[in-house]
């Protein structure tokens, strides 16, 4: 009986030893062998750059040409300088009142909107470069019907209308608040100056609001469906004249997708209303420092 008990204990001991040996031979335990490379909610990306990290300066011009006129030879109805800092992922929109009374190279002093009618976008660009002491890299020109088409092709634009606007001339008829506007309504919102307290300055500011609204919507839609990038580019390119190569337009769109709307400043050149030769004009204040800050760091203090 004693002999049997000794045998059983010895067997049990050897069995335990055997299982330990088995574990060592087989390697690691269950827990540590679970796949440890599960990737959840990870994200990566690579975005091409436009001209490296240097700030990019684009002049956006809205021509007031009528359908039978060449947009590049019409009066500039809206003028915005957009400075983008790719590195800082921010931008500033500098609105230039169209009635600004400035020196036009080779053509004396006149309203800035006349520069394009005299010498096309190149003369308008030279006028602003001289006014601000800056260099403008690219320009984009659209017309009333171009803007309308552009907005309609992207399915309308959600804009925050800052105050009630009712103006029979521009056909603006909006209550205050966030609303989805069709192309013709965006045009009316951008053109109205009669229902604004600060006239031409307010109109220029509203033009900047349209750019910021477009950026906000672009980013939102892009998050839902990345292919909207090309749809927006297509809508823009069909409705604009620009010296931006298509390749840079794509890079610029990628860059814009990475700029939060709250990192975009919307400023208007300061000045005062006046008159010259029977015309109502805007006499600009000291604007060189604004242009300098904008072009250096895409930010105006």
């Amino acid at each position: 009986m004693r002999k049997h008990a000794t045998f059983a204990i010895a067997t049990l001991f050897v069995w335990t030893l055997g299982s330990a040996v088995g574990a060592v031979v087989s390697g690691s335990s269950d827990a540590s062998a679970e796949p440890s490379i599960l990737v959840t909610s990870a994200h990566s990306g690579s975005f091409p750059r436009v001209g490296g990290n240097r700030p990019i300066s684009i002049l956006a011009i809205g021509s007031g040409a009528r359908p039978y006129q060449d947009p590049a030879r019409g009066l500039a109805d809206s003028i915005h300088l957009i400075e983008i800092d790719p590195k800082g992922r921010r931008a500033v929109i500098v609105g230039i009142p169209r009635d600004s009374y400035v020196s036009i190279p080779g053509h004396g002093t006149s309203k800035i909107n006349a520069a394009m009618a005299i010498g096309g976008p190149p003369l308008l660009i030279r006028t602003i470069e001289r006014l601000g002491g800056i260099r403008i890299h690219y320009s984009a020109l659209t017309s009333f019907w171009g803007l309308t088409s552009m907005i309609d092709q992207i399915g309308g634009l959600t804009v925050r209308v800052p105050f009630p606007m009712h103006d029979q001339y521009s056909r603006a008829d909006f209550h205050a608040g966030v609303q989805r506007l069709r192309g013709a309504e965006v045009l009316a919102f951008s053109r109205d100056r009669h229902s604004l307290r600060n006239g031409d300055f307010g109109r220029s500011e509203n033009g900047g609001r349209v750019f910021v609204a477009a950026l906000r919507q672009f980013r939102l839609e892009l998050r839902e469906d990345p292919s909207v990038l090309l749809r927006w580019i297509s809508a823009g390119m069909r409705s604009l004249s620009t010296d931006l190569p298509l390749r840079d337009v794509l890079r610029l769109a990628y860059l814009c997708s990475r700029i939060p709307p709250d990192q975009v400043q919307n400023v208007v050149l300061p000045g005062s209303a006046g008159s010259a030769g029977g015309l109502s004009i805007v006499r600009l204040g000291s604007v060189r420092s604004i242009f300098a800050q904008a072009s250096r760091s895409a930010h105006v203090r």
Partner: protein, 241 residues
Amino acid sequence: MSPARPSARSSLIAVSIVLVAAVAFGAWVLRPETQGVGPVAQPPPPEHTPRFAFAVGRTGALPTTQLRIRKPVHYDPLLRLRGPSRAASRHTIASITRLYREAFLDPANWRAGAYDSAWHDLASAAGRQARRDLRVMTAGAAAGEAYLSISPRPSTIRTTVLLDRNGAPAFVMATVHFRALGRALAGTSNTMFESVGTFSLEHAGRRWVVVSYDVRRSDHRVEKPLPTSSVAATPSAESTP
């Protein structure tokens, strides 16, 4: 000194046999389920790359030609692919298929955790970034230690071609939803790889190369089927373009 009795010698031999048998039996019965870590227990790995192709969804081309008519246009002008734009779309699908095949399905790559062949159709900057994003862009550097096999599951791709002002294809954007099942060597669950990505391609000489990408991964675990049920890892599609 008297010689050992035959009966005692027999008992000693019997006890020795029982002890050796007990050691062997214990080692066999109580071994952990992590078979496959040791080279003897591991079934022979499939060395071929599973056949794979994306199911192609909506494709089309977008023009950039300036509008000649001077009145507002209200429609979305997605055009049918034809000629060069169709070829551009096909090249793109082939490039992205190759990328995912090399990054997830080729056993030679994921077993070694080396994916250099996956970046063949990426422009230099995108390729550099992809090498840094190995964890998101591929099955992972440690996939060889974790998986028995990786097989494709139904995956989709759609392409949009942007035409330049002369009507020639300038860019292609591919939107991809890729899925593959990684059968784990151990544990109770497998891994479903899920990769949703957007790739922009530009024409470079005779090729279309990826100049930018935006890829999101959201893998999840799926329970392993019971041992009695038969498991067949089926490729998602017929053939590889």
